[in-house]
Symmetry: C2
């Protein structure tokens, strides 16, 4: 069975609309690229009970959970404490994180707020941060990362080698200038004939023309190719010129 994952985005700024979350999309693409299926994303605010409840729901259901946000030095950074509470473990300074941070700051600058960034739930292991030192951490099947995209990406680089590789979901994307409503019935028939693929249709509109990108996905390369050819034949039969715009 393919491994599954969920993402928990933590931060009032996402829910107020102040910040557009792009971390989920990045993590989604990274996981797709190693054959892990991201199956759910949740966004919650900086509220301990909400983080605890969401994390416990997700970590019990999926193989891996990735969180972003809430691990900085300020009072609104409550993720580490919430994760400790979710796992029902203590929390304290992680010696290695403490040493890394202590070395980063000049004498007298390693204050209590900065020390907060060395707090890791008991049993957690560090996720190094090549961008800005202060580490994330892993506990059980949960990976806790920063919210700043550059830092999150640096942490994801550290996490990827820890994750198992699964068979990739292969996909072919075919674009055709047919409105979805014209191709829908034929597409449904192809989906039925290729139950081991998942076929998605994503409409587009350009310069007065309606079209769709038709995406076939499966871990079975032969099935993807066979279904893709049927879609191309369908488009041609309907008078269009299908264009295979990606095949990965």
């Amino acid at each position: 069975m393919p491994k599954t994952a969920a993402m928990l985005v933590i931060g009032d700024e996402i829910l107020s609309g102040r910040t557009q979350d792009t971390n989920s999309n990045y993590v989604a693409r990274q996981l797709t690229a190693i054959g892990i299926d991201l199956q759910e994303v949740r966004v919650v605010g900086d509220v301990e009970d909400e983080i605890v409840a969401a994390l416990n729901a997700l970590r019990s259901r999926y193989d891996f959970v990735f969180t972003t946000g809430g691990i900085g030095p300020t009072h609104d950074d409550i993720t580490a404490d919430a994760v400790a509470k979710a796992f029902d473990v203590g929390i304290g300074y992680h010696p290695e994180a403490y040493a890394l941070l202590e070395a980063r700051y000049a004498a007298g600058e390693f204050n209590d707020a900065r020390k907060r960034m060395a707090r890791v739930p008991d049993g957690g292991t560090l996720i190094k941060n090549s961008a800005s030192i202060a580490p994330g951490f892993q506990i059980g099947n949960v990976f806790v990362m920063a919210g700043v995209p550059m830092v999150m990406r640096a942490m994801m680089e550290e996490i990827l080698p820890r994750l198992p590789r699964g068979a990739l979901v292969l996909s072919v994307t075919i674009s055709t200038a047919l409105p979805e409503g014209a191709i829908a019935q034929g597409l449904a028939d192809i989906q039925k004939a290729y139950p081991d693929t998942v076929i998605g249709s994503y409409p587009w509109y350009r310069d007065g023309t309606f079209g769709a990108q038709l995406v076939v996905r499966s871990r079975d390369a032969a099935m993807v190719e066979a279904a893709a050819r049927e879609i191309e034949a369908l488009a041609i039969k309907l008078g269009a010129t299908p264009e295979r715009i990606s095949s990965v």
Copy 2:
């Protein structure tokens, strides 16, 4: 009490990373602008049981739920059926939706796939779509919208007059070239002194300089202003020049 909301984004293409969701951010900003608090976002794939479970969890907990995606004419558009199942009601052609769509297509082009877009759970009322005719619908406290951003926005225009106006969350954003770790303790003290505000800190890094945007939010204008002034005084005391970059 302020009204609360959740968003349910439906679509495999978001979870695979193929598509960056921007609808949540748009809905978040629209709701913030009328005083409704978006408290949770979930993203699930095109899987009926997942949609039903998430929708039932959200609609029982929040005043309003907004969904995007899965209401087109193709086989992978299963949102209307999932919503009917979640509400345990039947589903069929909505006469007004059917008439709108029938009028849109030339004779012979209003095929079964296109008729699917007229299917609405029993008891649902239409959300008109000035962008591409095919309507969304409201049932109970759930608003079901298209996934294509342009269409979703047209539907949101129709929904906004149906929603109650609440007291707005006001916010002041102060940017200062102080690293979070330097201002964190003072900021925590201000948060404690102004418990009716929520103060967030969002770090930035530019040309070798660390800084933070400090955001004070509250429905109480006087509290926002008082806390903002304390933050400005704190930044000045720490040797920085705070800049008030927005006040809404």
